[in-house]
C-alpha cells in the first residue's frame, strides 16, 4: 500500500500528497470521515510517507521504515486508541512523554490517535497543550469517524482532512476485484460507501441472520438472548432494523423498489409492511433511532427488546 493506492479518496490523497510535496507538514491533522472509508489506512500510509527512507512524497512500501510501520514496529510511530471503549488520561500522558524525546531514528515522530472521539474528557483536555504546541519534530494525526463529538478545543487545533464515503462506482469496482464476494449489488447497497463494510465476508449473511431473527421475533419465537449475544450484536441488530424500516418507508413513499437498499427483498418488504401507514412507519423508525442512540448507556437488554418489538409489531407483520 501507499497513499496513491488508497481507493476512492482522491481529494484527501491529493491534499496529503500536496503537503508532502511542499514539505509543509503541520503538527496536527484530523482525518475525519465515516467508518471504513480508509482513514486509518491513510494515517498509516501518511506516516510511512513522512518517514520513508527512499522516496519523497509517498511511501515506497519496501524500505525498512515502511515495512516496520506496517508491522507496528517503528520506534518513532506511536499509535494510540481504537482498542478500548475509551482513551484515558494516562495514555495521553504517555504519548506526550514519548513525543518529548527526540526521534529515535533521526526523522519525524508520528503519533496516530485512532477513534480520537473516544478520548474521555480528562484525556482530551490533557491533550490540548500537546496538540497546540507539540515538542519539535512531532506530527499528530487524529482519526475520527465522529469528529463532531470531539471537543471544539481539539478540533480548532487540528487541520481537518476529510474522507468521504466511497461512490457507488468506486465500491463496485473494489468489489469486482474480489470474485469471492457474493451478492455484490447488495453489498454495495448495504455498505453505504464504507469500503471496509462492503468487503466484510459475512455482510450478506449477517443481514439474512438479522432478517430471520426479526421474523421469528415478530412471531414471538425468538427472544433477546437468542438474538443478542453481546453489546456489539445489539448495535449491529439496530443498524439492520433501522435499515429495514427505512426500506419499508422508501417503498411506501416512492412507490417503487428502486429506492430500496435491501435490493433483493422488495417483495418481503412489501409483504411485511403493506398494512402500515407511512406515518406509523416513520414513528417507529424514529423510535429505533432513539433507542439506537441510547445504547451508549447500559440499557436493560430484555426491556429494550420488548419495547422495540412492541413498536415493530405495530407496523410489521
Amino acid at each position: 500500500m501507499s497513499l496513491r493506492q488508497i481507493l476512492g479518496q482522491e481529494k484527501a490523497v491529493r491534499i496529503l500528497k500536496g503537503i508532502l510535496e511542499r514539505k509543509a507538514v503541520a503538527h496536527c491533522y484530523l482525518f475525519a470521515g465515516e467508518e471504513g472509508v480508509g482513514k486509518d489506512l491513510a494515517a498509516r500510509e501518511f506516516a510511512k510517507a513522512l518517514l520513508c527512507g527512499r522516496v519523497a512524497g509517498d511511501a515506497c512500501d519496501v524500505c525498512s521504515a515502511c515495512r516496520r510501520i506496517d508491522s507496528g514496529q517503528h520506534p518513532d510511530v506511536h499509535v494510540m486508541g481504537g482498542e478500548e471503549r475509551q482513551i484515558k488520561i494516562d495514555q495521553v500522558r504517555d504519548l506526550g512523554e514519548a513525543l518529548s524525546k527526540k526521534s529515535f531514528e533521526g526523522g519525524l515522530k508520528v503519533a496516530i490517535v485512532r477513534e480520537a472521539e473516544t478520548m474521555n474528557q480528562a484525556a482530551a483536555n490533557a491533550f490540548l497543550k500537546t496538540l497546540e504546541e507539540p515538542p519539535a519534530q512531532s506530527i499528530i494525526i487524529l482519526v475520527s469517524a465522529r469528529p463532531d463529538l470531539l471537543p471544539d478545543t481539539i478540533r480548532s487545533r487540528a487541520q481537518m482532512v476529510r474522507f468521504y464515503p466511497l461512490s457507488r462506482t468506486d465500491l463496485m469496482a473494489a468489489l469486482a476485484a474480489d470474485s469471492a464476494l457474493d451478492q455484490q449489488e447488495l453489498r454495495a447497497s448495504l455498505a453505504q460507501g464504507r469500503l471496509a463494510r462492503a468487503l466484510e465476508p459475512t455482510l450478506c449473511q449477517s443481514r439474512d441472520t438479522f432478517l430471520e431473527g426479526l421474523r421469528q421475533a415478530l412471531r414471538d419465537t425468538a427472544d433477546a438472548d437468542q438474538l443478542w449475544k453481546d453489546r456489539d450484536d445489539i448495535d449491529e441488530w439496530f443498524d439492520m432494523a433501522i435499515l429495514w424500516l427505512r426500506d419499508c418507508i422508501a417503498l411506501k413513499a416512492s412507490g417503487s423498489a428502486s429506492q430500496i437498499v435491501n435490493v433483493d427483498q422488495a417483495s418481503l418488504i412489501e409483504q411485511m409492511s403493506g398494512q402500515a401507514s407511512l406515518r406509523d412507519l416513520s414513528r417507529v423508525l424514529s423510535h429505533l433511532f432513539q433507542t439506537r442512540d441510547l445504547l451508549r448507556f447500559n440499557l436493560n437488554k430484555h426491556l429494550t427488546f420488548q419495547h422495540t418489538l412492541m413498536h415493530l409489531k405495530s407496523v410489521l407483520s
Binding site: 476512492g8 491534499i15 500536496g18 503537503i19 509543509a24 507538514v25 503541520a26 503538527h27 465515516e34 467508518e35 500522558r93 526523522g107 519525524l108 474528557q121 480528562a122 482530551a124 483536555n125 490533557a126 490540548l128 497543550k129 504546541e133 519539535a136 519534530q137 512531532s138 506530527i139 465522529r146 471544539d152 478545543t153 480548532s156 487545533r157 487541520q159 482532512v161 476529510r162 468521504y164 464515503p165 466511497l166 461512490s167 457507488r168 462506482t169 468506486d170 453505504q192 448495535d235 443498524d239 433501522i242 435499515l243 427505512r246 418507508i249 422508501a250 413513499a253 416512492s254 417503487s256 428502486s258 429506492q259 416513520s282 414513528r283 423508525l285 424514529s286 433511532f289 439506537r292 442512540d293
Partner: protein, 567 residues
C-alpha cells in the same frame, strides 16, 4: 519538513496585536500602567479567541526587563524565554491533568518560592474548570492570602464551572467571540503576508465557519493553503465539505413541493456520489432559517447579510410555502442537526427527517386550522364568540396560545391526544340547554368558565352538565354520565365553590343542585366507542387527524360551539 502553522506563527506577542479583545486589552494595560495588577485573573471565553495568548503577553508585560509595562520589549532574555516556553517563572499548567487536590497542594507549596530571575511568578492554569471541588477549595486558601510576586491566570472555556468563592477572589475578564468583520480583516492581513490570494467570498466563508474564533479561522486558512495558494470560494466549499447551494435548494424545493419520491431519489444520488451527508443538516437549518426570514421580514436584506441575487432565489423558493410549515421544518432540521452527529448511518436519519418534514407540508397556524374546522363544521356566527374563549377551556386551547405548541405537534405521539379534542365536538346533544339557561338569564357556560379561572379540573366536570330549569329556587343541573352517583357525589363536595361563582355572576344569591340526567338510549351509545368511531369518519375530523397525526380519544361537548350553534 514540519512547518509552523499560522495559528502559532501569527500568535500575537503584544497587546496591540491581539485581535478583537479591546476591552480586555484596555483593562490589562490600565492595570499595568497604574501598577494595579490583580493577583488572580479568570480569563473566560470560547476556544481560540486569545486567552492563553493574552496570559503569555501579560507574563511578558510583568517580567520584561523594562517591566512591568504594557509594552514588553519582546527581545530581552525574560521576554524570549517566555515566548519559547522555557521561562522558569512562568508556569503553564493544564488544569485537566492536574486537577486533583494533591497537585493543587503542590502548587500551594510552590508559590511560596520567590521568583528566580523574573519579577513575578506567573501561574497560567488552562481549563481550570476541570479542577475537582477539593482542589478548588485548596486553591481558595492561596487566593485568600495571595503571595506578593505571584500572579495567577486561570483560563477556561467554561467559567460557570468555577466556584463562586474562587471567582469572587479573581478579576474576571471575559473574552468575546470575535466579530466576523474583524476576523476577515485579520485573515486578509495574514493572507497578504503569506502571499496567498483569496477571494472576498472565500474570506467571508472562512470567517463564517470559524464562528468567532481566530485560531479556527487560521487553522482553516492553513488547510486551504495546503490545497492551493490561490483560494476561491468553490474550492474552499469543497475542502470544507460544505454542500453546494444548488443541491440544498433542490432538496428544499422537493420538500416544499411534497415530493417524497424525489427526495429519496436525490438523497440516494448524493449518497452514491460519495457526499458527506453529515454536513447537510447544518446548512439546511441555515437555509430554512433564511427562507423563514424572507417570508416574514419586509426587508430581509438587513437581516441576512446575503447578496441580492441569493435573496431573490430565497424568495422564489419561499413563494409557495407558509411561514408555519417553514418554521416546523426548520425545527425538524434543528433536531436532525443534533442527532446526525452520533448515528452510524447518516443517510437513513436524513431520509427519515425529510419524510417527517414532508408531513408538515401544508401546515398552517393552529388558529387557522381551528377556524377552518369550526366553520367547516357548519357553525355559523363564529365571529360573535371570541376565539380565545372557545378554546380556553380545554388543554388544546392552551397549546394554541403558546409559542412552542405547533412545533410540538411535529413529534408524532406527544401532541396527538389534546389536539384531537376540538374535532370531537358533538353538536347534536345540547340543544335544549341553551334555552334553559337563557330563561334563567344565567349562562351555565359562564358559570363553568368562571370556575375554570380557579379550578380547572372542576370546570371540566361541570362542563358536562345541562341546566334543566329551577327547582325549589335552585338551579337544577343534570349530568348524563356513566356512574352518576359517584360523579355527582364528588361534585357536591365543591357545591359551595360553584354556587359562589354562580352568585357572583348573577349578582344575587344562587343555589345549585346537581342531579343525574334521565338518559336516552341513543345518548348512552354515543358516549362510548361508537361515538368516537362515528366522529372519526367526519371529513373535517379526518383532516385534523391527518394534520396533527392524532387520534380521537374522547368526545365531549364544546360549550362555545354549542351556545352559538344551538341558537
Amino acid at each position: 519538513m514540519s512547518y509552523l502553522v499560522l495559528a502559532r506563527k501569527w500568535r500575537p506577542l503584544s497587546f496591540s496585536e491581539l485581535v478583537g479583545q479591546d476591552s480586555v486589552v484596555r483593562t490589562l494595560t490600565n492595570a499595568l500602567e497604574q501598577g494595579r495588577v490583580a493577583h488572580a485573573y479568570v480569563f473566560s471565553g470560547p476556544r481560540g479567541v486569545g486567552k492563553t495568548t493574552t496570559a503569555r503577553i501579560l507574563s511578558r508585560a510583568l517580567n520584561c526587563e523594562k517591566g512591568p509595562t504594557p509594552t514588553p520589549c519582546g527581545v530581552c532574555p525574560a521576554c524570549t524565554a517566555i515566548t519559547e516556553g522555557s521561562a522558569v517563572d512562568v508556569i503553564e499548567i493544564d488544569g485537566a491533568s492536574n486537577r486533583g487536590i494533591n497537585e493543587i497542594r503542590e502548587l500551594r507549596e510552590a508559590v511560596r518560592y520567590a521568583p528566580s530571575s523574573g519579577k513575578y511568578k506567573v501561574y497560567i492554569i488552562d481549563e481550570v474548570h476541570m479542577l475537582t471541588k477539593e482542589a478548588f477549595n485548596a486553591l481558595l486558601k492561596t487566593l485568600e492570602e495571595p503571595p506578593a510576586h505571584v500572579v495567577f491566570i486561570f483560563a477556561t472555556t467554561s467559567p460557570k464551572n468555577i466556584p463562586v468563592t474562587v471567582l469572587s477572589r479573581c478579576q474576571h475578564l471575559s473574552f468575546r467571540r470575535i466579530p466576523k468583520a474583524r476576523i476577515m480583516e485579520h485573515l486578509a492581513f495574514v493572507s497578504e503576508q503569506e502571499k496567498v490570494t483569496i477571494t472576498p467570498g472565500a474570506l467571508e466563508m472562512l470567517a463564517r465557519v470559524s464562528e468567532g474564533s481566530v485560531r479556527d479561522s487560521l487553522t482553516v486558512l492553513d488547510q486551504a493553503m495546503a490545497f492551493s495558494m490561490d483560494i476561491r470560494e468553490e474550492d474552499l466549499q469543497a475542502m470544507l465539505g460544505l454542500p453546494e447551494r444548488g443541491l440544498l435548494y433542490e432538496l428544499a424545493g422537493l420538500l416544499l413541493r411534497g415530493d417524497r419520491a424525489g427526495i429519496l431519489q436525490m438523497i440516494q444520488n448524493l449518497s452514491d456520489a460519495g457526499h458527506d451527508l453529515r454536513a447537510f443538516p447544518k446548512e439546511l437549518v441555515s437555509l430554512f432559517r433564511n427562507l423563514m426570514v424572507v417570508k416574514i421580514a419586509e426587508r430581509p436584506a438587513s437581516l441576512l447579510e446575503l447578496p441580492e441575487d441569493e435573496i431573490l432565489d430565497l424568495k422564489a423558493l419561499a413563494e409557495e410555502s407558509e411561514v408555519e410549515e417553514l418554521t416546523l421544518m426548520l425545527n425538524e432540521f434543528l433536531n436532525l442537526e443534533g442527532q446526525i452527529r452520533s448515528v452510524t448511518m447518516p443517510r437513513y436519519l436524513m431520509e427519515l427527517s425529510f419524510i417527517r418534514a414532508s408531513f408538515l407540508k401544508g401546515s398552517t397556524s393552529l388558529q387557522s386550522i381551528l377556524d377552518r374546522l369550526q366553520s367547516g363544521g357548519g357553525t355559523e356566527g363564529m365571529e360573535s364568540t371570541p376565539p380565545r374563549a372557545s378554546v380556553s377551556r380545554t388543554p388544546k386551547g392552551r397549546t394554541a396560545g403558546s409559542g412552542p405548541g405547533p412545533a410540538q405537534t411535529a413529534a408524532p405521539e406527544t401532541a396527538s391526544e389534546p389536539e384531537a379534542r376540538p374535532a370531537a365536538s358533538p353538536r347534536n346533544d345540547a340543544g335544549p340547554q341553551a334555552k334553559e339557561t337563557s330563561a334563567e338569564s344565567l349562562s351555565w357556560n359562564d358559570v363553568v368558565r368562571r370556575v375554570d379561572q380557579t379550578n380547572h379540573p372542576l370546570a371540566i366536570k361541570l362542563s358536562q352538565g345541562k341546566v334543566e330549569g329551577t327547582h325549589g329556587g335552585a338551579l337544577q343541573v343534570a349530568f348524563a354520565v356513566e356512574n352518576p352517583d359517584f360523579f355527582i357525589g364528588s361534585l357536591r363536595r365543591s357545591l359551595q365553590e360553584v354556587e359562589k361563582a354562580a352568585s357572583e355572576l348573577a349578582g344575587r344569591k344562587v343555589r345549585v343542585n346537581f342531579v343525574a340526567a334521565e338518559v336516552e338510549e341513543t345518548d348512552r351509545v354515543k358516549t362510548g366507542a361508537e361515538l368516537r368511531n362515528e366522529i372519526s369518519k367526519d371529513p373535517i375530523v379526518q383532516s385534523a387527524i391527518e394534520i396533527f397525526d392524532a387520534k380521537v380519544v374522547d368526545v365531549r361537548p364544546l360549550e362555545g360551539l354549542y351556545e352559538n350553534g344551538g341558537n
